[in-house]
Symmetry: C2
Subunit: 78 residues, 2 copies
């Protein structure tokens, strides 16, 4: 079973990586960029009997830092 | 205009970060995880007159390493 977890910084949390990319885009002459924020996608292939609670537990324990990050779990078999 | 760019490693390219996460999940007692791959999402807020070609150019120039990574551009205003 394929699970996709989207992890993004909470609104208001400073994103230095996004800022660096924003700056680099401007330096390369790309105009009109107002904001850049960077998150990550974790694609898991797990046993089909894995419960939603267990996946949520993985997120809270290891995959996301819930102090500064939000996560969203997306199930699918594409 | 909000643009979301999904960057993921091409199939077959070794993902050491995913491997480390996989190993850590197993160490924490999460069983049944078969594979972990990690990608990133770049959320751009760009001027509404930015052309698709320009966004594609940003990806090829800076945001993705097209030798080892695929990217997918998703437009939306959520």
């Amino acid at each position: 079973m394929k699970i996709r977890i989207h992890v993004s910084l909470k609104p208001g949390v400073l994103d230095p990586q996004g800022r660096a990319v924003h700056h680099a885009l401007e330096g390369l002459g790309f105009e009109g960029v107002k904001d850049v924020r960077i998150g990550r996608i974790i694609e898991l292939d797990v046993a089909s009997d894995t419960s939603d609670e267990r996946i949520d537990e993985m997120c809270r324990t290891l995959l996301a830092n819930t102090v500064i990050e939000n996560y969203r779990i997306e199930k699918g078999d594409e």
